[in-house]
Amino acid sequence: MINFEIDGKPVSVPKNGTVMDGANQLGIYIPHFCYHKKLSIAANCRMCLVQVEKAPKPLPACATPAMEGMKVFTHSGQAVTAQKGVMEFLLINHPLDCPICDQGGECQLQDLAVGYGASSSRYTETKRVVANKNLGPLISTDMTRCIHCTRCVRFGQEIAGIMELGMVGRGEHSEILAFVGKTVDSELSGNVIDLCPVGALVSKPFRYSARTWELSRRKSISPHCGLGSNLIVQIKQNRVMRVLPRENEEINECWLSDKDRFSYEGLNSEERLTRPMIKQGGVWQECDWQTALEFVANGLKDVKEKYGAESIGALGSAHSTLEELYLLQKLVRGLGSASVDHRVRQSDFRADSQMQGAPWLGMPIAEISQLKSLLVIGSTLRKDHPLLAHRIRQAVKHGAELNVINPIDDDLLTKVRNRAIVAPDKMVSMLAEVLKAIAELKGVEIPDDAKNALSTVSASDTARAIAISLSDNKPAAIFIGNLAQHHPRYTDICKLAQHIAQISDVRFGVLGEAANSVGAYIAGAVPFGNRFGNRNADTAGDRHGGQGANASQMLGMDDAASGTGCKAYILLNLEPELDCYNTQRAVRTLAAADLVVMMTAYKSHAAIQDNYADVLLPIAPFTETSGTFVSTEGRVQSFNGVVAPLGETRPAWKVLRVLGNILQLDGFDYETSEQVRGDVLPAGNDVSAWLNSRLGSLAVNPIEAGKENKGSEGLQRIGEVPIYQADLIVRRAESLQRTRDAAAPLAWMSGSLMAQLGLQTEEVIRLKQEEGEVQLPVAQDDKLPANCIRIASAHPSTAALGGMFDQITVEKS
């Protein structure tokens, strides 16, 4: 530690600490622009000049290393003169357009100009003007305002992992811009808006829509990815105007992904459903809540009488709150059915009987930065979990080795030590090879339940390299990504990964796909009763023999259960034509049902046009209801509604409660969402006892066989979920939908496959799965494995297709 003095107060900082670190510790404010605690030190704004005893001239506090016995004065005559001088220079070229600048009111330059600027300028010459740049649909520019702090440039290089902005030219001709004709496409790009200390980079969707001082700040939690980012939602006149990060060092630090930041536009979408709607005689009509709820209750009663309670099923999205999912399962179980699920994109449910708890990250998010080696299975990390990917990027920067097993080889913007890019049906054998390698390396027996399956496997060099990386570098972890969770052999992937983790003694975790992926298990929104979580849960499921139908069986996506399905469905927060593993079958199954109740915030086009729905109940999105999400690290985070529900929209937990009352079910007397939460979570909200990603004893299926391999002959589809199609809200966020990440799906395939099929780039081809067919242009990606076609799912243009990883046929059109 180095001891020194700032403004007469003693302070000590670690070796390599700076004067700025010491000042921060003491709570002494030194004005600055380019300095940011998460970025490297540039010392180019010169605003933080301070006086240092015995130094011949003022020194920048951010870049001056603390030295033993040093005496620093931050507010002395010399320091203040220097700071004022710098401010005068900064203001020379800065336009006086604060009254129309979006940054006005939250502008560092404006604030500091009050303290250090002169009341009028001595500069009478012409100011320079810099042309604005088009940086894409999210960031708006006013480059004349730029003071060249280069925070945005450093953010790209150091945090986002891709340098998209740079400072070109020199001296007075310096400008911040993206390379000729390029836009800023990083999924973390919105953070440069927060970082910009002036109004040069501002939010395009928010532009000119409100002044910052008119906005109320309300706390909330992100409903998108499993991270559980903390949000500040800013509102004006009962409308969400903007979303900003709420700093939480353990989760999102001071960052926010673009999905979390800009998806609020979807909340104000014109597609919002504001009144209940019923389909009568094939015609959709708006009605009041009473009519709608009675219609639903009668419908459910009819189905129960006619076909038995088992023919009622409920599916809720894991983007719904803990309270909503709890009441949904309680309602269905109260009616006598155990068919309730949230895993609509999962296709392999073999492990259900062997689950030991809710699958979770297996470690706190903050500890990811300390990992020395990782194996990520089935995930395009930066698109699935942008801020988790950022943590991993930082870990890699500090020497961690990232190993990847994935069918897609998109640039992860970080160094990858070993990558195994294999077709989806080869992922299991790749993992088996790693298991074999690690067992050989450690000299241990292969566990019994995998022995048979592994008898024919021999480890490749890549598998060996991955095994060595995991066993030589500690701490290490294995993560199962979204794509692996949707994989037709998820159970085997999970089981093998678990063995690898056990033998190499590393952490094992499942990356939560949605904000409440962990919470959905705890709420009991799974068909196998309440073995974990849900402490006061009604055990109706157990009473009725325990097992209900899972998502795949309910929606007829399971081959064995094909053509079956329920007679009545309650869908919470779902668009089945986009959200399911096999959208084609899901829609067909729903269309055959007697009653489909959709609890949704949006007038889903497909539900109305395809006519599979019978009732639409307008429920509140996360900003209009109180609730709780349990993040992928098992963190319970409750939030309140930030605005009043739009129109006649009601929070889903209230709707379900009233529905429970109308159906005269027990235990639906809740007054507040806190009471509901109290029924699910123990006092203190500690859910750690219910978190466990491990599976019990379960044999791994033979590596090259099994019915799950239905895509192994012919061409295989790789149907990943695009970043801005993952949930209902983000699908309707207009600006995000204009980004490159939201581009319409193409049929990506390798050049050799194109040659084999005689296809040209951009040629429109017909793609068929089961009875569904779509037409898409061909695109070339030589990094894809052979015999695979990458076609995004969760997009209207591919909704007619079938399973995300099933066989697909191609025809020229």
């Binding site: 891709i162 998209e164 020199r170 390379f179 390029k182």
Partner: protein, 158 residues
Amino acid sequence: MLSAESLKKIDYELTKYPADQKQSAVMSALAIAQDEKGWLTTETMDFVAEYLDMPSIAVYEVATFYTMYNLQPIGKYKITVCTNLPCALSGANEAVAHFREKLGIGFNETTTDGKFTLKEGECMGACGDAPVLLVNNKRMCSFMSNDKIDQLLEDLSK
């Protein structure tokens, strides 16, 4: 994009730096590319970026920072005349006026036959030889009286 010969030169430059710090060679690589192509197009800079494993914008930063990189097409011969104080005191302004008259172009302009481009330069560190000028960034000419300028233009025009 670049000839095998140029790539060989760039590869040689790369041997001077550690393998994981290829971008250290960006200035030499750009100079080599410019020698071959005459000026740096966006595509050339993109190519250099990819060749050196660095973001295109980082290459662009370097190319725009240094004035000796040409980001616009230029004539066969780029004549850069120093107009800083010592040169100006020793007749740089007269030299520039002579160029203007002889070539019929001003600074940053190119003769219609595409032969000469005139540029204004900063101190070249040879004030004792003032006025000085550079031909194509490489050849330094000292004591540029009008006679010597005539001689130079004649030699280059051949």
